[in-house]
Symmetry: C2
Subunit: 226 residues, 2 copies
């Protein structure tokens, strides 16, 4: 089996589980190299965890799989032209271009979702829909050609297994799933807007809506500058 | 709401998803402080991710929730008397003592599962069963009094929601579940031995059995020294 390189580009305000979950699955692929890299390199704090020893994205030659995580920092990341340029460069030679959560908004901003269907965290789907050429899909994992995108945060587990199956075959994907004991039993039916009760949905919408104005401003700025 | 402190003690050879998943859920609890700490402090590499800025366990005063992750390093960690002493000290004042995967073997070695039912990664359940006083339970999340333990790796997501529900109420747990879009859809039915097909189960058993002799040696050494 040939060496498979996965690259996860991170940025300030990344939700760490968006990439730690795929990282754990990818790292179990035989002869895999999983590189978490940032524009500046060095260390990056995400939601209270500090990740160190990150290479600079510009120093990463190429990858087989690009996997862009999301997070509240997405809306600043799309205004970082150098970051988007690195994402675009790595995507150009990748066999699979993937994302988790609002990582699909980074892909869209990099021009990588033109004419494609893509997933996103449920709350931010209408933001993704503002990017020209993107068709938003509410599925948890969406495949359109070599572009595979996932829904919010924990969709990264399902996305990762789908990507491993494509790259290394379904037998390998099943074995990694069993090794990581991924037979989920969420205690509540609350993980999607359609499943959640009214008060839960209201609480989360209210909490996230505090960011609406800032997000709109950032996306407006990005779209105005295209 | 009062401040809630979660402590996650890590050690060389921890499976990072065992703690990054609970960390992400715990970090969304209002007024939560989630501390990942190691015996030596500083940096720790886990499966290719380097975590930095870790405090020393001895410098952590106390916690409301102790959550011990697992990993192949578990079987060395149980021979580290200083590490076990810190786990025991923190557990003594915690409202909830929890674990993910083989983290329950650390709890058992620290004497915290005496007379209790506990979960473990499916492959290592018979190792947990060797510790006197422990009743192994094959459920994904097992609660016995203030001790809540989870199965392998990804059971940490289900465990975390259960812990948040206990601490902060079911409404809060549902809201965090929705925010992290935890409505899992694993592509395959392969995440438990009972679900996996024969070849998948054989492949994983064969891969993990390469560690059997070393694990037996470590556990023998621990049990002989009690």
């Amino acid at each position: 089996m040939t060496r498979t390189t996965f690259v996860i580009p991170v940025y300030p305000g990344t939700t760490h589980l968006d990439f730690t979950a795929p990282h754990q699955f990818f790292a179990r692929v035989p002869d895999a190299e999983v590189i978490v890299a940032s524009r500046a390199g060095g260390t990056l704090e995400c939601d209270g965890l500090t990740f160190a020893g990150l290479p600079r994205l510009a120093d990463v030659a190429a990858c087989d799989v690009l996997c862009v995580p999301g997070g509240f920092g997405t809306f600043d990341a799309i205004l970082d032209a150098d970051f988007l340029a690195e994402v675009r460069r790595l995507a150009a030679a990748a066999r699979f271009v993937t994302s988790v959560c609002t990582g699909s908004i980074v892909l869209a901003a990099a021009g990588l979702l033109d004419g494609r269907r893509a997933a996103c965290h449920w709350y931010w789907r209408d933001v993704l829909a503002r990017f020209p050429g993107v068709t938003v899909d509410a599925a948890r994992v969406v495949r359109d050609g070599h572009v595979i995108t996932g829904g919010g945060v924990t969709a990264g587990l399902d996305l990762a297994i789908a990507v491993v199956a494509e790259l290394a075959g379904e037998d390998r994907a099943r074995a990694i799933q069993l090794g990581l004991e991924y037979a989920p039993e969420p205690p509540f039916e609350a993980g999607r807007p359609e499943l959640a009760d009214g008060p839960t949905l209201d609480a989360v919408r209210t909490a996230l809506s505090a960011r609406d104005a800032t997000v709109r401003e950032r996306v407006d700025a990005f779209l105005a500058g295209r």
